[in-house]
């Protein structure tokens, strides 16, 4: 688990929201029921991690989760923080985005224990891909394009 005296972790039991553009690079479909599923490109690990939003904070502030979709064509997927924490080197940290007055207060980052994550390291890459795969399987779309 990522630890630091200045870091606020997302609480256990919380749900995280991730936005995905409506393209075949970011969203696929389930072969059994046709439901949308994230593609790995929808969970791209940037230099600071993977951006997500805390459903609990949005709900407490009365902000609809559809606000996570920046465009009408976006999907929003939801998954439990435990899916991330199942992989001990990864965690979800609260990271308010002050540049976004609408939902920035709920912004968080999924990060690796050592940042920036070294994608060239085969072991780290394997762990990242396994974590992403677990999220992709468990996540479900809660906002679909209108």
């Amino acid at each position: 688990m990522v630890t630091s005296s200045t870091i606020t972790l997302v609480e256990d039991g919380e749900w995280l929201l991730r936005r995905a553009p409506n393209t075949s690079s970011h969203v696929a479909v389930d072969l059994i029921d046709g439901t949308p599923k994230m593609q790995p490109a929808a969970l791209k690990f940037d230099d600071d991690g993977i951006s997500v939003y805390r459903e609990k904070l949005l709900g407490a502030a009365g902000v609809a989760i559809s606000k996570v979709a920046k465009r009408p064509s976006d999907y929003v997927f939801i998954f439990e923080v435990e899916t991330v924490r199942r992989f001990p080197a990864f965690d979800a940290l609260h990271d308010p985005d002050e540049s976004d007055p609408e939902i920035g207060f709920a912004h968080s980052l999924m990060q690796f224990e050592t940042m920036p994550l070294n994608k060239k390291d085969p072991d780290i890459k394997e762990r990242l891909n396994q974590m992403r795969a677990a999220i992709i399987v468990s996540a479900r779309a809660v906002v679909v394009p209108t």
Binding site: L31, A41, K119, P122, N129, A134, V137
Partner: protein
């Protein structure tokens, strides 16, 4: 194995050849051995082989191998990979989804080795970091094949809380036993997933009606 049958057709020492030879049927483009007077193309996945007298003149004799199969999935893969090539290989190198041709070729070889007529269709896409991914979603079951920009491929199997990973380095044209073992494992996973999909959604092909 198809390769033994192929080798028995040629009396001269053979060398491996690479690349796609124009004017050959699509399904014969994925393996090749060259002797002094002929180039012989085979597709182990499709259990077929043909002999071409030169790389550009297609005068062929079928080398009959058992287990004839449908090429439907290979048509789908061809269309999908061609679309990816057209869209992303020619993209500016610094763009998010730009791809190298070698990545597409490596990815194609793995797919052609792993899939057969029983395989349900994957969804193919760039991973946004110079690689390609093929994914099969079937409820709590998922299989992914990643090929990255360095031609390393990672194969992921997820079923509920179980995650298994296989690795394939470089191209799979050779006969490296470890690679063959990984491809064999992948084939068994795909067969399991395909049976699961056919049982629970026999009309799954409708999902690809516009592909």
């Amino acid at each position: 194995m198809a390769n033994d049958s192929v080798l028995s057709l040629c009396s001269e020492p053979l060398r491996e050849v690479e690349g796609v030879v124009p004017r050959l049927p699509r399904h014969l483009r994925f393996g090749g051995l060259a002797g002094p007077g002929a180039i012989l193309f085979f597709n182990p996945t499709a259990h077929s082989a043909q002999v071409a007298l030169s790389p550009t003149s297609y005068l062929a004799t079928d080398a009959i191998l058992p287990e004839p199969t449908s090429f439907e999935i290979f048509d789908y893969l061809d269309r999908s990979l061609s679309r990816l090539e057209r869209t992303f290989v020619s993209a500016p190198p610094d763009s998010e989804f730009a791809l190298k041709q070698a990545v597409v070729n490596c990815f194609r070889n793995i797919l052609y080795r792993a899939c057969d007529s029983r395989t349900v269709f994957p969804q193919l896409a760039p991973d946004g970091e110079g690689g390609l991914v093929a994914v099969w979603h079937a409820g709590e079951l998922m299989i992914q094949i990643y090929t990255d920009a360095e031609l390393h491929s990672e194969i992921l199997y997820v079923r509920g809380g179980t995650i298994k990973t296989l690795h394939v380095s470089g191209d799979v044209q050779g006969q490296d036993p470890k690679q063959q073992e990984s491809i064999g494992e992948l084939r068994s996973w795909l067969l399991e997933l395909s049976k699961h999909v056919n049982k629970n959604n026999p009309g799954w092909q409708r999902l690809f009606s516009d592909s």
